[in-house]
């Protein structure tokens, strides 16, 4: 992994998190899986709302999929929003049928993705968010595979 594969930024409010997601939405190269990780309440679902808004959604369709496991938003391109928080094994994750979508034209976003990182495809953009002492959120982007790396390069200002 070279330095060019990663990018780091911070947001201070939910609105800033949504704006960051809008910027990210414009930089993504599909097919791609977006693997989200980070502490509870850091703003993962808020980030997905920003993606949906950037792609023609109202944002209101985006809610937490912790219980429903899988929600699809008819944005353009469409977003499959999954959450593996309450799944117990890789098998349970794979049995949702997500592999069938992985090479498709839609974006797959998985919350708590680090739990089952080994089953993700090469083309994955890993996004980790942590809450700082100040309450600010630090977002770390790391691109895997050709599309993941290209997506991060498009994000980096240099």
């Amino acid at each position: 992994m070279s330095k060019q594969d990663t990018w780091l930024t911070t947001t201070a409010t939910p609105e800033e998190t949504e704006r960051l997601a809008c910027v990210v939405a414009c930089s993504l190269r599909l097919p791609l899986v977006l693997g989200l990780s980070g502490t509870l309440g850091a703003g993962k679902t808020c980030f997905v709302r920003g993606l949906a808004k950037a792609w023609g959604g109202t944002g209101e369709e985006v809610t937490s999929p912790t219980f429903t496991l899988w929600q699809t938003y008819e944005t353009s391109p469409a977003i499959h929003h999954l959450d593996v928080y309450r799944l117990l094994s890789e098998d349970e994750f794979l049995e949702l049928g997500v592999e069938d979508c992985m090479d498709g034209p839609d974006l797959i976003v998985v919350e708590w993705a680090d739990k089952y990182a080994s089953v993700f495809p090469d083309d994955t953009l890993w996004v980790d968010v942590q809450i700082e002492e100040s309450g600010e959120r630090v977002w770390r982007f790391r691109g895997g595979g050709e599309n993941g790396r290209m997506s991060v390069m498009a994000l980096r200002p240099d």
Partner: protein, 341 residues
């Protein structure tokens, strides 16, 4: 008229047999103990494959409980929306097969409408018109329900559902997952006024819930910002109970406040509540009190009908009577449709 209803939208595989006159003759939910034993204690919670393994034993068990044979049935009802595509398909394929084989009408059930309809078992007369309120792990929605076929979405959560928020706060307090019931238990010994947590959107006129910010407020109370892992090990048992009670009070205030707001907006003086969180005693009690002081008839589904089950699929009888029968082309609709159809 005797109907078999099937439910496989998410975690539970369930079947029920309901007679128009005599009510529920048999009901099985696959998380029940006897079925655990049949599978040697191993019942995978979520996968569609688990539904596949369970659906036939569940149907057989229900028929046996009801002392009914397949040939006695007059219709098959099945939940087709919302839920997981793979899980929904298992129920639908079973229902279609029975419908074709026995030449019986096939009825589509909306899982969320069925949750509201669970309240029909608590009332002699029809529950319609009413405001329907579904509060569960995955949903926190208010509907204006004019009749069994028209549910108009009034509003719901814009981020986390109430039950999910319960489970996540429980995890911050080191309670075992699923933590909702454990958190309520802990809250009983705490002071609900010890901490003042936010009541998001409560003062606003829009019908909506937001529990994400409340979750973060509790997190900061427990650990403060900047902590990667949240643990409550540094708190005394009393402090933990106070946090649980104060949090539960904040959620209950939001749910009750918005429900009353919604009922007032429609002018229909009846509220029908279903979903897993509706079995929470603090919430039930507070809602009943608030409804009484506002002259609203409050119907809350019986605790065993709050969590996912097939008995609430009795709403299919209403569709059958009205002639809303589906063809074998019927498909599942996994996503949530917020507005009535």
């Amino acid at each position: 008229m005797l109907i078999l209803t099937l439910e496989s939208t998410c975690d539970e595989t369930a079947a029920a047999i309901i007679d128009e006159q005599r009510g529920v003759l048999g009901s099985t939910v696959a998380s029940q103990e006897e079925l655990h034993q049949k599978f040697n204690g191993v019942v995978p919670e979520i996968a569609a494959r688990a539904h596949l393994e369970r659906i036939l034993p569940v149907i057989h068990e229900t028929l046996a409980k009801a002392n009914v044979e397949l040939k006695d049935l007059s219709a098959i009802g099945v939940a087709t929306t919302p839920g997981l595509a793979g899980s929904l398909l298992v129920g639908l394929v079973a229902a279609k097969t029975l419908s074709w084989l026995l030449n019986l009408p096939l009825i589509a059930i909306n899982h969320l409408h069925a949750h509201v309809y669970a309240c029909q078992f608590a009332r002699e007369e029809t529950i319609f018109p009413c405001v329907g309120f579904i509060v569960s792990g995955g949903h926190s929605h208010l509907y204006e329900c004019r009749d069994p076929f028209s549910f108009e979405y009034m509003g719901g959560t814009i981020d986390d559902a109430a039950g999910e928020c319960f489970d996540k706060v429980a995890s911050m307090l080191d309670l075992p997952y699923p933590g909702g019931p454990a958190l309520s238990q802990l809250a009983k010994t705490g002071n609900p006024k010890a901490y003042r947590f936010p009541r998001p959107l409560l003062k606003e006129t829009r019908i909506a819930f937001s529990f994400s910010g409340l979750k973060t407020a509790v997190r900061y109370m427990i650990a403060g910002p900047g902590q990667k892992e949240v643990t409550a090990s540094h708190l005394s048992p009393g402090e933990r109970a106070d946090i649980a009670a104060s949090f539960e009070a904040a959620v209950a205030d939001c749910l009750v406040g918005k429900a009353i707001q919604a009922v007032k907006r429609t002018g229909v003086p009846r509220l029908c509540v279903g979903g897993g969180v509706a079995s929470n005693t603090t919430f039930r009690h507070q809602l009943e009190q608030a409804c009484e002081s506002h002259n609203i008839e409050c119907l809350i589904a019986a605790p065993e009908l709050c969590t996912d089950n097939a008995v609430m699929g009795a709403i299919a009888l209403e569709r059958l009577r009205a002639g809303h029968v589906e063809s074998l082309d019927l498909d599942v609709r996994p996503g949530l449709v917020r507005h009535s159809q």
